[in-house]
């Protein structure tokens, strides 16, 4: 009883995994398990908002489909960004190579001109 009273003041919250959340929404949990989930909900606004929102999805089976679809899209977008980054890096590298070649060409041309100029001297 005493510890239960103190629990009211506690804000500690453990994470509820997605499966447990789905089971809660589907009403598959025992009253004791439900109470454990609800104890976390009271302490966690994020989780509480999420449960209230997910409860509004007409067909609960759709939730997992939506999540899978969103994760696939996320993965695709991250891959696209990775490719773009790689492309940008390669383009930058090309400019570096071009600059190095140009500098080398200028040095060689200058050296050749000096040699030629010195050869012309009597």
């Amino acid at each position: 009883m005493n510890n239960n009273l103190l629990n009211i003041l506690s804000n500690s919250s453990k994470d509820i995994d997605n499966q447990q959340l789905m089971d809660y929404l589907a009403g598959k949990l025992s009253e004791e398990e439900k109470h454990q989930v609800e104890l976390q909900l009271v302490n966690n606004d994020f989780m509480n908002d999420a449960v209230e929102g997910l409860d509004g999805v007409k067909d609960k089976k759709d939730i997992n489909l939506f999540v899978e679809q969103l994760n696939r899209d996320l993965h695709k977008k991250l891959l696209q960004k990775k490719h773009k980054k790689k492309k940008r890096k390669m383009l930058q590298q090309r400019w570096v190579y071009a600059a190095v070649i140009l500098i080398l060409a200028i040095i060689i041309a200058t050296w050749l001109m000096i040699v030629k100029y010195q050869g012309l001297k009597p």
Binding site: M1, N2, N4, L5, L6, N7, I8, L9, S10, N11, S12, N18, L21, E31, E32, K34, H35, E38, V42, N44, D45, F46, M47, D49, A50, V51, E52, G53, L54, G56, V57, K58, D62, I63, F66, V67, Q69, L70, N71, D73, L74, H75, K77, L78, K81, K82
Partner: protein, 190 residues
């Protein structure tokens, strides 16, 4: 991307890995952990499945862009704040109203543990708690007692009291908040 492979890695470690090599792969794993919760939050505010899905995608994009710009200390609170603000802005566009936007500090305050609890003796807090419960209104007292002391679920409390599930939730949440206020007041008294 198999999230189970990385289950043992904490959010903070994933963020540290990302900040170390700036590889979006780590962000992917981290964001995937919250897809379902974000979908729920967006559904709660927007009340439309397509809008909610669309918003989760936009929250992901915003998170990826922002995390490249600055360091985030508490990812879970931060991503919740990003999603909530996104929905509030969307609602404002719909209704032409300006809802209050949250910042990370207010979010952290909500999750803060009662500061006095760590410093005061257990007995004194318990006395204050017992007295504070008596100060709650009838509905809040009934729901808080059934939930915390008798360990009943929302459904059971709704059946016992005849209140709706929403009322039960609200009485518990408001009751808990009021209890904290009263306990703080009582233990500050000489």
């Amino acid at each position: 991307m198999n999230p189970d492979r990385y289950q043992h890695i904490s959010d903070n470690t994933l963020l540290e890995k990302f900040y170390a090599d700036k590889d979006n792969h780590w962000l992917g794993i981290l964001l995937q952990r919250y897809t379902m919760l974000l979908l729920g939050v967006c559904m709660k505010y927007l009340k439309n499945e397509d809008d909610a899905k669309d918003s989760v995608q936009q929250v992901f994009l915003k998170a990826i862009a922002e995390l490249h710009k600055y360091k985030v200390a508490y990812f879970k609170s931060w991503i919740y704040m990003v999603a909530k603000n996104h929905c509030l802005m969307k609602l404002r566009d719909r209704q032409g109203k300006a809802p209050s936007v949250l910042n990370e500090q207010t979010m952290m305050m909500e999750e803060e543990v009662l500061p006095v609890q760590a410093h005061l003796e257990k007995d004194r807090i318990l006395d204050a708690m017992s007295a504070a419960i008596e100060e709650l209104n009838k509905e809040q007292k009934q729901c808080v007692t059934l939930f915390y002391l008798d360990k009943k679920s929302y459904t059971q409390i709704a059946e016992i009291t005849g209140y709706s599930m929403m009322q039960v939730k609200s009485y518990i949440q408001n009751g808990k908040r009021n209890l904290k206020i009263v306990v703080e007041r009582l233990i500050k008294q000489p």
